[in-house]
């Protein structure tokens, strides 16, 4: 179980005038055995960061260390890592067994050892009856499990996941999420998991790195990220529907943005007056989209409460202890 250290990691593409910096100095310490999710919108550099750990992208500046080895100049195969790709990247002409065994075969492990490892992984992932199949004869979920099996048999120091669930349907995704959690509990291998899906991030992560535009916005547990978002970006990215960010809220100080999550607004007789524009029924809850003064606001109402009528005004009161304040200029959190 190796720790991973990012020390002022920078990624640049191109040279001279065309130079484009996509990652601007990431510093983070991931502990051995930890499951860390890197989450952010597309183009934020999260995949690039992961690929730099994998050795598939050069590191333009700074250092990445796995365990106590700086891996900047090591080949991917020498880094003692395994990666699960978004499209699984199974070798189409090889059987499931051969796919999982290929890396071990190259490392010249004895045949008996290869067989033992593959059988064990196949047992864990319930692939034992599929070992002779070709990838094209498998469903998406099965392919996904083969890709994980290929990573497991290597017995690496670190697992890297590059959006491995994004090609699965919603039900399978939830199921696979649980499987990955279970796997991590059993094997306890340090894991880095990249996703753009905040639900995935919240459910899988022990700690999560929220990235935006090549910078790390926050690094913390899901609870910390939800309860104490470090910036307006994190506040609006994590949580669904996103946090309301109000510039002109009552009680807000000059030059600050007031944040309140839709689920922390209570409908009352007095308080902020919200003109409702749309009401969405989601089953357990209703989402009311409305305007507070000139600003857009979302209110979440339990389904057993009376539904507001579109066009009418309702009054809401924020829970005082759930208010957040951010600097209007930098977007950073202001300690309350």
């Amino acid at each position: 179980m190796a720790a991973i250290s990012f020390r002022n990691v920078v990624k640049r593409y191109g040279k001279g005038k065309q130079e484009l910096q996509v990652i601007h100095g990431i510093d983070a310490e991931i502990q051995g055995g930890e499951f860390v999710v890197i989450v952010g919108p597309s183009g934020c550099g999260k995949s690039t960061l992961l690929r730099m750990v994998a050795g598939l992208e050069e590191i333009s500046g700074g250092e990445i260390a796995i365990g106590d080895r700086v891996v900047n100049t090591l080949e991917p195969a020498e880094r003692d890592i395994a990666m699960v790709f978004q499209n699984y990247a199974l070798y189409p002409h090889m059987s499931v067994f051969e796919n999982m065994a290929y890396g071990l075969k190259i490392r010249k492990l004895p045949v008996a050892e290869i067989k033992a490892r593959v059988d064990k992984a196949a047992g864990i992932l319930e692939l034992a009856h599929l070992l002779d199949r070709k990838p094209r004869q498998l469903s998406g979920g099965q392919r996904q499990r083969v890709a994980m099996g290929r990573a497991i048999v290597r017995q690496p120091q670190v697992f890297l996941f590059d959006e491995p669930l994004s090609n699965l349907d919603a039900k399978l995704r939830a199921q696979t999420r649980l499987e990955i959690q279970k796997l991590h509990r059993e094997l306890g291998i340090t894991s880095l998991f990249v996703t753009h899906d905040q639900v995935e991030a919240m459910t899988l992560a022990q700690r999560m790195i929220v990235m935006n535009a090549g910078r790390m916005e926050q690094f913390g547990t899901p609870e910390e990220v939800y309860h104490r978002p470090a910036s307006t970006f994190v506040a609006s990215f994590i949580g669904s529907p996103p946090m309301n960010l109000l510039k002109e809220a009552q009680g807000g100080r000059q030059g600050t943005i007031t944040g309140i999550r839709p689920e922390h607004l209570d409908v009352t007789d007095t308080g902020w007056e919200v003109r409702t524009e749309t009401v969405e029924m989601l089953g357990a809850e209703r989402l009311v989209y409305g305007r507070l003064g000139s600003e857009q606001i979302i209110v979440r109402i339990e389904e057993n409460k009376p539904a507001p009528v579109t066009g009418q005004a309702i009054h809401v009161r924020p829970r005082e202890d759930r208010l957040h304040w951010f600097d209007a200029g930098t977007g950073r959190r202001i300690a309350a």
Partner: protein
């Protein structure tokens, strides 16, 4: 476009039948001519039904027991020369094109684009254009009247290189990366992953290039001076006497032509299964 219309159905069939006739009739005439005696073939009008000298004519052709003017090389020998040449050209082209496409697609080396275009430009220089210099080189290397001389100059192929390049470009990058993570070096990746995936492209190319090699005429005409190194296509021409119809044993020439058509036909029929399998089991 699928339309159920009686008139169109008939029309399409008429067109197809006409097409088949246009292609098949000359082959039929060749076959008929190969089963008659020399005298019958040159009579006007030529008989349109098969004659009774089938076995005799084909035996004479295969063993080269002809008495008339022109070359007397045995067809069996010429066919084996053609076969070796065609196989060497087809396999050589595939091997060299695979490697050059691999280099161009997967490696970043200085002047990569230059080499890419250099190969591209050779499309404009077929054998016929560079035949003088090529002959000089082959002659200086003492490769006249040899299999190497017949095959090597025809092996370099821009077309095949491009075909493989296009194919390699469709191989997902993630597959390359997965192989790198697995610790496969470039040549391992080439042999373990790229080659098996290219199997159907290779089969298609083999058919095309085998026929290309089999049908070579001009190049063998230049560099073979001994009868025992004549490929069959050249042999047919050499059997035709310059003295005119009366001295050419057309029945034997036609039997040779029929025999010359067999191997390419077999290759196409044999490899057809491969095409179909390649199309049905699309691997991506």
């Amino acid at each position: 476009m699928i339309e159920r219309n009686r008139f169109l159905t008939i029309l399409t069939h008429v067109v197809l039948v006409l097409g088949v006739l246009v292609v098949a009739f000359p082959v039929y005439i060749t076959f008929v001519a190969s089963t008659h005696t020399m005298e019958d073939v040159v009579r006007v009008p030529m008989p349109l039904t098969p004659g009774s000298h089938f076995l005799e004519n084909y035996r004479i052709a295969l063993l080269g027991e002809r008495v008339g003017t022109g070359t007397h090389a045995a067809v069996a020998r010429m066919m084996s020369v053609s076969f070796i040449m065609a196989i060497a050209i087809a396999l050589g082209k595939i091997a060299i094109s695979l490697l050059s496409a691999f280099a161009i697609v997967y490696f970043r080396f200085p002047f990569r684009i230059f080499f890419f275009w250099a190969i591209f430009v050779t499309l404009m220089l077929p054998v016929e254009v560079r035949i003088g210099p090529t002959y000089k080189v082959v002659a200086d290397l003492h490769m006249l009247n040899s299999y190497a001389g017949l095959a090597v100059p025809l092996i370099a192929s821009a077309t095949a290189t491009f075909l493989f390049r296009q194919f390699f470009l469709t191989v997902p990058d993630e597959l390359v990366e997965a192989a790198r993570m697995d610790g496969a070096g470039p040549m391992r990746f080439f042999f373990d992953v790229l080659l098996p995936l290219s199997a159907t492209s290779m089969a298609a190319l083999f058919v095309i290039q085998f026929i290309y090699g089999w049908n070579q005429y001009l190049w063998p005409l230049l560099i073979t001076t001994e009868e025992n190194m004549y490929p069959i296509v050249l042999g047919i021409k050499q059997m035709i006497s310059s003295g005119g119809d009366a001295q050419t044993e057309w029945n034997i020439v036609m039997a040779t032509a029929m025999l010359a058509m067999i191997p390419p036909a077999l290759v196409v029929i044999g490899m057809q299964k491969w095409f179909v399998r390649g199309l049905v089991d699309s691997e991506k």
